[in-house]
């Protein structure tokens, strides 16, 4: 934590350095700095100044956190739209070709770490398509103000990180749904419904699928936490304008207020996500709803 020289390499006088230390509060102990920071944040909403950007932290982080949220939500949607139908399909058509393919992809998603998948994707697209897939925007739009064109550009770029982030989750969701649905399909009530002449797809969607989705909904929070967590490293590899790379740079440059604020708000994001998914679960599952009503929190 020593600011002997500014980034350009110009020397500064000892007095100037002392002044800077005062401004950034570096003359106090680490613990005191931490509590000062918390205090200023709670009382004044002041997150401190970034050393390396020489800007207030809050000017730097909101855009990035917003992008992280957007990317995470997109990945969630990606997982839902892919994993639920595939999971149902592979349970209903057990041991079919499609089931094996889904299983195989599931294993890949399970075993390939996010950053490695990102690297491989980068390699493939560079090698065979001759383009760099990094970033969330084309160079024209990186610093442009928001517009429809910029949103369109974002959508054109976001799908690669979305797939990278979603693959692991997709794999695990397919596995859960397949296993749950297979359990459910052997229940006597399904046999009864079939014996009474209910059409197959009707039986399937009316009861077992709903039951099979329940454990999935209850693990939504874990999924969200994993995605936000994973997005950090994927973004670093792919050079996305999300919170991850900013955090990484901040840590490498010992830009502590910026890093602390980012870690805190990323945690905040996942805690909120957990809360939302718990509420969703309570809304979907009558048993939990009842628990809430009787005595609840």
């Amino acid at each position: 934590m020593v600011l002997e020289a500014s980034l350009d390499g110009d020397y500064i006088t000892a007095a100037e350095a002392e002044g800077l230390r005062k401004i950034y509060g570096l003359d106090k102990s680490v613990l005191a700095q931490y509590f000062d920071w918390i205090w200023r944040m709670v009382v004044h909403g002041d997150l401190g100044r970034s050393f390396s950007y020489e800007l207030p932290v809050e000017e730097l982080i909101w855009d990035r956190l917003g992008m992280t949220t957007l990317l995470s939500l997109c990945s969630m949607v990606f997982i839902w739209t892919v994993a639920i139908p595939v999971g149902i399909f592979s349970a209903v058509r057990k041991y079919s070709l499609g089931d094996y393919v889904a299983n195989f992809l599931g294993f890949i998603g399970l075993a390939v770490p996010n950053f490695l998948l990102a690297l491989v994707l980068m390699y493939v697209s560079f090698r065979y398509f001759g383009q760099n897939v990094g970033g969330l925007f084309s160079s024209d739009y990186v610093n442009a103000p928001w517009s429809f064109a910029r949103v369109g550009d974002l959508m054109a770029h976001i799908w690669i990180p979305m797939i990278v982030l979603g693959t692991a989750g997709t794999a695990s969701v397919i596995r859960t749904i397949r296993a749950n649905l297979l359990d459910e399909l052997h229940r006597p009530y399904v046999v009864t419904a079939r014996a009474k002449g209910m059409p197959k797809h009707w039986v399937l969607t009316k009861y077992p699928v709903r039951h099979a989705l329940n454990p999935f909904v209850s693990s939504l929070n874990e999924l969200f936490v994993q995605i936000v967590s994973g997005s950090t490293i994927v973004s670093i590899v792919l050079g996305l304008q999300t919170a991850g790379p900013l955090l990484f740079d901040a840590l490498r440059q010992e830009d502590m207020y910026l890093a602390a604020a980012l870690i805190m708000f990323l945690s905040f994001l996942t805690v909120i996500g957990t809360l939302f998914s718990d509420i969703l679960l309570a809304w979907l599952d009558p048993r939990i709803r009842r628990q809430f009503n009787n005595g609840g929190l």
């Binding site: 628990q291 009787n294 005595g295 929190l297």
Partner: protein
């Protein structure tokens, strides 16, 4: 710690010679042992209650109380079998586990002869000496036998941790002795529970109970998980063992025909309290409680429609929620004879004739049709 085990009182030492029974009950009933009810009871329950707190919410605050046992008093004499019947959830199992000390009673006392030692209010380590005298046979032999231990180890565990048998040889001798009692041969010693059928496993459970020369056995639904034919075998085994070893049984079951088969006296439980208690014959022929009446009528008869008038009483509703008991008699909401007094005040258990206890505001309302239910139930 001082061992309170009294061997003069134990096991085979004082086998009572079998007289011809004084009261010759119907043949199909269990011929009662010569139980001396003038002596002090071997187990005495005085106003035992067990309440469980309900905790919920973020901080696990107590938000209610489940009153599983309410003011239960009863005596069990040496050598007898007391049957305990009731619907599931009425507190039968809780009573068994509270007597032995697996659950600690909230209020009340459990006294155990010979010296009326108090079992309540003791810690596990204080109770350990008594746990050799009072043993338990569990409902489901699949879960009560550790699947990872061989038969020998299951039975020997109690002897190994006990104080009486020190040498390995003594322990092995005792295990073989007990195995012989339940009709097992030596070759089964090294087998694991999964190698046995349900009935055989329950025999192992009984052998484990017998190992430390107990005086009292609490059998909690001991035959409920078994096939009917196997049930009969196990019941007969229990009866033989009782005669041979002068054991005392507290036999907990929801199955009236099983209880009739083995019990000398029967206590009927409802919502955590005893509502009627009498000898088996009285309970089956001259019960006075509307709940007992309903239970009796639910026994399946071997010949359907043998009695033109369908005497079956259907109980509406369920056992009251023990977390939220009604104010008056807990049975009142389901009782077809209930009057206003039943809804306002809770009847206490009182003696209506010799050895017949009843908790009902209207002791004479039940019409005792002397149906040949006894025949029915014993086949």
């Amino acid at each position: 710690m001082q061992s309170v085990r009294c061997h003069g009182f134990g096991a085979q030492a004082d086998l009572v010679p079998l007289h011809a029974s004084t009261s010759q009950v119907d043949d199909c009933l269990h011929a009662p042992n010569p139980v001396d009810r003038t002596a002090a009871p071997i187990l005495e329950l005085q106003n035992v209650s067990k309440h469980f707190p309900i905790r919920s919410g973020f901080f696990n605050r107590q938000t209610g109380t489940v009153r599983s046992l309410n003011d239960v008093s009863l005596n069990i004499w040496r050598g007898e079998t007391l049957g305990l019947v009731g619907e599931s959830g009425c507190g039968k199992s809780t009573l068994g586990q509270t007597i032995i000390g697996l659950h600690k009673a909230t209020t009340g006392k459990v006294l155990f002869r010979p010296i009326r030692s108090q079992l309540t209010g003791k810690t596990d380590s204080q109770l350990r000496p008594y746990w050799a005298d009072i043993r338990m046979v569990f409902q489901d032999p699949n879960s009560s036998l550790n699947p990872r231990m061989a038969v020998y180890d299951i039975i020997a565990e109690v002897l190994r941790v006990g104080q009486d048998l020190k040498s390995r040889k003594d322990i092995e001798g005792r295990v073989l002795e007990v195995l012989d009692k339940i009709g097992f041969s030596k070759e089964f010693l090294k087998r694991y529970p999964h190698a046995f059928s349900g009935g055989q496993r329950q025999r192992i459970g009984i052998a484990r109970a017998l190992a430390p020369y107990p005086k009292v056995i609490i059998a909690d639904e001991a035959v409920s998980a078994l096939d009917v034919s196997v049930q009969a075998q196990i019941l007969n085994l229990l009866k033989d063992l009782q005669e041979e070893l002068n054991l005392t049984y507290l036999f907990i079951s929801h199955d009236l025909s099983v209880v009739a088969h083995i019990s000398d006296r029967v206590a009927v439980m409802y919502a955590g309290r005893i509502v009627e208690l009498a000898d088996t014959e009285t309970i089956f022929n001259a019960s006075r409680h509307p709940y007992t009446e309903a239970l009796m009528s639910a026994i399946l008869e071997p010949v359907p429609n043998a009695h033109a008038d369908d005497t079956r009483i259907r109980l509406e509703g369920n056992v009251p929620d023990p977390a939220n008991l009604p104010k008056g008699c807990p049975f009142a909401p389901r009782c077809r004879y209930a009057t206003s007094i039943c809804e306002s005040s809770d009847p206490s258990l009182g003696e209506i004739s010799t050895d017949h206890l009843l908790a009902c505001h209207h002791p004479d309302v039940v019409q005792n049709t002397p149906v040949d239910q006894l025949e029915a139930m014993a086949g």
